[in-house]
């Protein structure tokens, strides 16, 4: 296999995504909003449909043939996804999305009986970063509120880089939560260093892998994190499915979060006892077809090869950063020279992000505008909203060129070009 995705490779990949050949506003769609949600290849759609056409039934509850087949396929999906992220199957909990995964851990921690080793108490601290997505921030604010612990954060500098010197990781720290890749900056954070510092003080690490899982080879055991979350819809799978990874020993130390059917051993009117992880955390009928579809998405990515996916992303990133920086009046967010995935946010002086986005949309280019669920980072950088372009395996060099040209043109349209 070539180490890079050639133009021909990408063209072949695009054939698997029919939506990329549609038009928007009479222009060919240029989809640069994959950081919000990716498009899905036919193999993913076909896998899910095929499940409904031939094997659909309840898993872990039925003894009939279809139920046994569905259960098997569902658990095979778990194994496949586990391998993809470098974990074992009993460390993979299905969720709706990454947001639910973070909330699950935060609630399970506050559901611990008082006096448990992992329980948080006043005086304990939770550390996040100033560049987190709201999904990896607010659940910890709420956990702090529920337990009396204090939330602290690692600040970012004027460029948006984490200021590790000022990281408030101390003996009081019990949890350190941070993203692998920022969804605003596209920059890969220093996981090894943060994990080492957290573990040195005995804190648990939660890694938000939403923006890394679709773009980089992921080995959670090697990264040595305690928990991690990701969302299927950002990595070629349908909406409604996500993953929480947790070290098996830790998952089994935590009490349940959601309760109901399929996660119990014995139930009386007075009390219930619970299955081991991962079932303990999977109450009610699961997202069966979506889990199976996520496994198909993982197959698709593995088929391309995650090393090549990563290389494609880093080339896109260079093209985006270099191209945007060359346009007068455009400020690109994030430190220069950092390792990145194919995603960049920027501000055009004198034009509001909404207006930039609208102008691009008129040319068929779909980008994200706003704070991208990272208000504190935007505030820190002195901005309210920015425009974000984010690619995926199906993004071409020509598309990014077309996008760069449109950004340049927007300045004339809104009368800010010199």
């Amino acid at each position: 296999m070539q180490p890079t995705l050639t133009e021909a490779d990408v063209a072949m990949i695009r054939a698997d995504f029919p939506i990329l050949s549609t038009e928007v506003n009479g222009r060919p769609l240029v989809y640069l909003d994959s950081g919000a949600t990716s498009q899905k290849p036919l193999s993913v759609l076909d896998t899910e449909r095929d499940f409904y056409l031939s094997r659909n039934s309840a898993v872990h509850r039925g003894a009939h043939t279809l139920a046994a087949l569905a259960t098997e396929e569902f658990e095979e999906a778990r194994e496949k996804v586990a391998r993809f992220v470098g974990a074992s199957a009993d460390e993979i909990v299905w969720t709706s999305n990454a947001t639910e995964g973070v909330n699950l851990v935060a609630y399970a921690l506050s559901n611990l009986p008082a006096g448990s080793e992992l329980a948080l108490v006043p005086g304990d601290e939770i550390v996040v970063t100033e560049l987190e997505h709201h999904a990896n921030l607010i659940p910890w604010q709420q956990l702090a509120q529920r337990t009396g612990a204090t939330l602290r954060f690692i600040p970012v500098d004027d460029e948006g880089a984490l200021d590790l010197e000022r990281a408030p990781i101390t003996d009081r720290t019990r949890v350190v939560a941070f993203s692998h890749v920022s969804n605003v900056l596209g920059v890969v954070n220093p996981v090894a260093e943060l994990v080492a510092r957290a573990h040195a003080v005995g804190a648990l690490v939660m890694l938000d892998a939403c923006q890394s899982a679709p773009h980089l080879p992921l080995d959670l055991h090697a990264l040595d994190v305690d928990f991690a979350v990701l969302s299927g819809h950002k990595m070629l799978a349908p909406t409604g499915i996500g993953v929480l990874y947790g070290r098996n020993r830790l998952l089994n130390e935590l009490p349940p979060f959601l309760t109901g059917g399929s996660m119990i051993t014995t139930v009386t009117m007075e009390s219930a006892s619970f299955l081991p992880a991962p079932q303990r955390f999977e109450a009610g009928t699961q997202r069966v077809s979506q889990a199976i579809a996520l496994a198909a998405a993982v197959d698709y990515l593995t088929g391309i090869g995650m090393e090549r996916v990563a290389e494609h992303g880093s080339r896109m990133s260079r093209q985006l950063i270099d191209g945007l920086s060359a346009i007068d009046g455009v400020r690109v967010l994030g430190a220069r020279g950092a390792q990145r995935v194919g995603l960049a946010s920027f501000a055009v002086e004198g034009i509001h992000a909404h207006d930039v986005g609208q102008f691009l949309d008129d040319r068929g280019i779909a980008v994200r505008v706003g704070h991208h669920c990272a208000q504190p980072l935007h505030r820190r950088l002195g901005l309210t909203s920015t425009t974000r372009a984010s690619g995926s395996v199906y993004t071409t060099e020509a598309e990014i060129d077309f996008f760069l040209e449109a950004v340049a043109d927007s300045r004339a349209f809104f009368g800010v070009a010199s």
């Binding site: 509001h352 992000a353 909404h354 008129d362 704070h371 309210t384 909203s385 349209f413 809104f414």
Partner: protein, 142 residues
């Protein structure tokens, strides 16, 4: 005129650049702060209402050219109007904006603000044009 030019008429861009009424108001009788949660755009609109009449209006905030122009045009429109009349303008404005290009603003009643007609075809932008009007609604209500 392309759709985009229809949305961003020169009058809109001008109002966005040099907005009317974008001033803090001395001794307002009521005020409302509104945020568009998607983009973080904000407007704080202040009224001085006396005897059922909007005697003065002022606003502050930041946002896209649609929300800024809308606030500016609103300020010129409702200044010195009886509250009841401002309320009926608000209802007409809301109806037109939500009509997906089916209903236009009445030029006799809205004057320059008819430049906002282009917005109603852009469902995702209706919120931007409505932001100051929602602030007006809340300010008038309390």
């Amino acid at each position: 005129m392309s759709d985009l030019d229809g949305l961003y008429q020169q009058l809109i861009l001008d109002h966005a650049k040099n907005p009317h009424g974008r001033v803090p108001l001395d001794s307002p009788t009521s005020q409302s702060h509104q945020v568009n949660p998607t983009c973080g755009d904000e407007v704080t609109l202040s009224l001085r209402v006396e005897n059922g009449v909007i005697e003065a209006i002022g606003w502050e905030g930041h946002g896209c050219s649609i929300s800024q122009a809308s606030a500016s045009l609103l300020a010129t429109l409702v200044d010195t109007l009886p509250v009841a009349e401002a309320e009926s303008l608000l209802e007409e404005f809301r109806t037109a904006m939500r009509s997906r290009g089916q209903i236009e603003l009445d030029e006799d009643r809205f004057g320059d603000a008819i430049a906002l007609n282009g917005v109603s075809k852009y469902v995702a932008r209706v919120k931007c044009a409505m932001l100051p009007w929602v602030a007006l609604e809340h300010a008038m209500a309390g």
